[in-house]
Symmetry: C2
Subunit: 339 residues, 2 copies
DNA sequence: CTGAAAGCGCTAACAT
DNA sequence: ATGTTAGCGCTTTCAG
């Protein structure tokens, strides 16, 4: 494999200066039409392509954007949470189309996070989920475009953010149940106290009940570890309360655990319990009955995230923006009309 | 934000030469213990970190490894195939631990793929799935370490490859069914003729039947589009043949489609049909009944892929290796013992 | 053991 | 319109 072609090779070949070559490559309008064409031809002929590293070194501007994930173990993160992969795919597509490279970084444990970060020479940053405040501060001190996806803490207001409207989502879910004749509607979530997302989803449930004049019963609120097994365990408790006809879950995975619990007890969904999930994960339409759920459009999320970042990258506009995505109801088979 | 610290800053600060600083940074044994310590201290104090771009420019060796995916649309690839995300997570973890950066690239349509590739200055390459031969040739001409994951075509033998043992997998599946008393075992796959993976899975099924003296019946072989809907459609045909008691599917997603079909007809799995899948995708344990399946360990796959690549990267050993991963049977609820 | 200096490929003044 | 040249930050001979 021969050495790669540089602008010097082209310049020598054409007996012109490297600068001229550089100009045509970068579309700087300083060269005659004729040389421009000759250069373009030579580029093809000699098989030239730009060395991005050299460009960076010269301009000080890298083309690398980093995506930070809130896990120190990427393999676990991606395998347990299909959301990451989907978001990544949607995000990366557009970011690359604009000529940026994407680096995927786990949440590294490091005192020198700030220093480490600086050494990366990033052009922009996007984070997914909750990080220790220190990390955000370090990112901020870099003074480069940055967008925070799915962070709900107070300090997020100082950054450009993107998230979905969680309370609207569970409001819709609850309302849908009510419209299907349900009054005894339970709610199942991970932890309303510690998870801001769960809390917001709870608030939507609560608001819907209130708006429809249905009393909120303390004993209709269930907690579980936010996993399939958590849902499975919770199903036992839910079954015990014979009055409950419907359940809104703060996550599909919980809903599926509950469905499993009912299946194992030979009870039927939606006959014995109407159930509605949240997220619309891939499995939601695979299970039987297919899960009615609140969909958060992850592809859309990825698209918006990249748009937010790219706009800021290209325009050097660092003003703070907050985008909220509206979820939608996906009607499938797990809710039964009663009365 | 102040300019980043360079080795010159450190050198000036310590009144030594940049070269010495470079030496200690790279562990070149040419500096006195004393200056070494002073440099190390200064690095901490001044907050220095290496500029990888400059290193590359100087040495010509980049630290970037690229992962190529066989889709021009990454968002679709990742969302439809959770496998990608999981593999990525597992792979990236180890590759980063060794200090390499990972670039994720879609299958770009380009006459100049070869040229484009060269401009990326990659240190190593890993591909996932099937690509046009031209692409592999271009990669090969780069003469850098490269590992092909899940490619079954003949030319793959010229590269280092990694795949699972598909025929063993379906052999195990079929054998398991036989051991559970089944004799009338159907097989469902995407397309045995065009997909080498499907073909191998078919071969394992066939071999198991033969070894156990069960006649292979043409009418027990079903074809479907390799999707959930494909499985759903195929379920109708399978139901019609009342003799069939069990089914081995070449993919979990197909199995789930079939399960859905049975559910919609008010038939029960595994009572009306025992079913076994292949892959162990995430949903496999979420559905009811949970799907018994052949697991291909994707985390393991990612780990081995990174090991293969890293070994070759660090040792400059470009000898060709072929690794085959053994799948395992995951016993769940979708197979019933009969007789 | 330490330093000077050339050079990696490109950009962007500054000259011509 | 085109050429010259000084960096960007680092590595690496080659001298001292």
């Amino acid at each position: 494999m021969s050495r790669k072609t540089t602008i010097y090779d082209i310049a020598r070949y054409l007996k012109i200066s490297p600068a001229s070559v550089s100009y045509v490559i970068n579309g700087v309008d300083k060269v005659s039409k004729e040389t421009k064409e000759r250069v373009l031809a030579a580029i093809k002929e000699l098989g030239y392509s730009k060395d991005t590293n050299a460009v960076y070194l010269s301009t000080g501007k890298s083309n690398t954007v980093a995506l930070f994930l809130p896990s120190d173990d990427l393999s676990i993160a991606f395998s347990q949470n299909p959301f990451y992969g989907e978001f990544l795919g949607s995000f990366i597509k557009r970011i690359q189309r604009k000529g940026f490279d994407l680096l995927i970084e786990p949440l590294i444990e490091s005192k020198d996070f700030s220093k480490w970060l600086r050494g990366k020479n990033l052009r922009g940053i996007i984070t997914l989920g909750k990080f220790p405040l220190d990390y955000f501060k370090a990112i901020k001190s870099l003074d480069i475009p940055c967008v925070l996806v799915d962070v709900y803490e107070d300090y997020a207001s100082e950054y450009t953010t993107l998230r979905i409207n969680d309370s609207d989502g569970s409001y819709m879910a609850t309302e849908y149940l009510i419209n299907n004749g349900h009054k005894d509607i339970a709610f199942l979530a991970g932890n309303i106290e510690t998870s801001e997302i769960d809390n917001r989803r709870y608030l939507g449930y609560k608001a819907a009940l209130k708006d429809y004049g249905i009393e909120l019963k303390e004993e209709y609120i269930f907690k579980a570890e936010a996993t399939f097994d958590g849902g499975l365990k919770a199903s036992k408790d839910i079954m015990e309360n014979k009055n409950i006809t419907a359940l809104v879950c703060a996550a599909d995975i919980l809903a599926m655990g509950v469905m499993k619990g009912y299946y194992l007890e030979n009870k039927r969904i939606p006959d014995d319990l109407s159930i509605i999930g949240f997220d619309d994960i891939n499995s939601a339409e695979l299970v039987s009955p297919a899960l009615t759920t609140i969909k958060q459009d992850i592809m859309e999320k990825g698209r918006l995230a990249s748009k937010l970042l790219i706009d800021s990258l290209l325009s050097n506009d660092t003003s703070i923006k907050h985008l909220v995505i509206q979820p939608t109801l996906i009607e499938r088979e797990s809710v039964k009309k009663i009365n």
